[in-house]
Symmetry: D2
Subunit: 110 residues, 4 copies
C-alpha cells in the first residue's frame, strides 16, 4: 500500500485555510493538540481489558492523532518515511537484540 | 511524495519480532506508548515560545509518535489515507466554514 | 492526617523565586508541565501488569504531578478541599449508583 | 490553610465503594485516568493565550486530576506532604540556583 502524502497534506491545508485557522496552528499548539487527541484515544481503553476498545472509535481517534502528526510534519518540512527509518536505525543501536530480546526494559535501565 | 507504508510497517514488525516484543504490544499498551511519546514531543516546547523547540529533537519525537501510530494502524487493520479522509469529511460537518472561520471554538461550544 | 497546604505552597513559591522562574510559570505552561509529569508517571506502567510499577519511582513522579497541581491551585486561587468536594458532589449527579454500580461506562454512554 | 486529607480520601473511597468501582481501580488504570484528566485540563488552553482558559472549567478539571492523585496516594500509602517535600529537596540538588536562575533548561541539558 502506498499513500499519497502530498495529497493528504494538501487536503488538510485546504481545510485549515477555508477556516483561516493557520493563525492558531503554531507548532506548540499543534503538539498540544496531538497529545490531547492521544489522550482521547487512550480513554477508549480506560478501565478496560487491552482488546476491549471500540474499534470504530479507535479508528476516529487514531485519525485525529494522524491529522496533527501530518500538520507537524508539514510545519517542520519533514519526510514521513525518512524520519521513521532514521529512528528505527537509532533504535537498533539502543536496543541490541541480545540485550532487549524478551525484555520490556527501557534502554536507560539496561 | 508517496510513501510505501507496507514497507515501513514491515520494518517495524521485523524490529519487534527480532526482539520478540509482540508479547508486550497489546493495543492498550500501544496507545499508552503513543501518548508517552506525545508528551516527550510536548516537553520540547515547555516554558518556550511556540517556535523555539529544537527541530532535530522534534524530528526524533515525531518519529517515535509515528512508529506507535503505525503499529496501531497495523494492529487494527486500518488504512492510513482512508481514515484521515473520513475524519476530514466528518470535520467538514462539525466545523462548517461559516461557523468556524477565524474561530478556535470547539464544535461543542458553538 | 491534616496537611499544611499554605506551608507547602510557600516552599514551592520560594523554590521558584530563588530561581526567578515565575517568568516561565504562566497557567498554560503549568498545565503542560502537569501533563508531561503525568506521562512520566504512566511510563512506569508501560508494557507492565497493573501492579508492577516501581513504587519508589511512582512516589517521585506522583510528587512531580502534585507540585504542578499545587502551583495551578495557587495561580487560580483555588481551595484544594473545596474543589474536590464540589466535584464529588457533581459526580454523584452524573453517576447515580443505580446506573453506575459495577459499570465502567462514562456518563455520556449511559 | 490546612486540609483534612483523610476525610477527603474517605469520601472518595465511599463514592467508589457505593458503586463497587474498586474492581476497575488498579494503579495502571488510575495513572491512565490521571493523564486523561490532565489532557482535559490542557484542552482548556488549546489555541489560546496563556491566561485565556475559562477559570470555572480549570477548577473542574483540576479537581478531576486531584481526585486521581488522591486515589493513587491512597493506593500506594503515600503521605502527600512528605513526598512533595522530598521532591523539592531532590530538586534543590538538580537545580542549584547558580545554574538554574533565569534558565528554563532541564537539568539534563545543563
Amino acid at each position: 500500500m502506498t499513500c499519497d502524502l502530498d495529497q493528504l497534506i494538501q487536503k488538510i491545508i485546504e481545510f485549515r485555510d477555508k477556516r483561516n485557522w493557520a493563525q492558531f496552528h503554531n507548532p506548540k499548539d499543534l503538539a498540544l493538540g496531538l497529545s490531547i487527541e492521544a489522550a482521547e484515544l487512550n480513554e477508549l481503553f480506560l478501565w478496560k481489558k487491552p482488546d476491549e476498545a471500540d474499534p470504530a472509535r479507535v479508528r476516529e481517534e487514531l485519525a485525529d492523532v494522524l491529522i496533527f502528526v501530518l500538520m507537524l510534519l508539514e510545519k517542520y518540512g519533514l519526510d514521513f518515511e525518512k524520519i521513521v527509518l532514521e529512528k528505527l536505525a537509532a533504535n537498533e543501536e539502543k536496543y541490541p537484540p541480545e540485550k532487549s530480546r524478551n525484555s520490556a526494559a527501557k534502554y536507560t535501565d539496561f
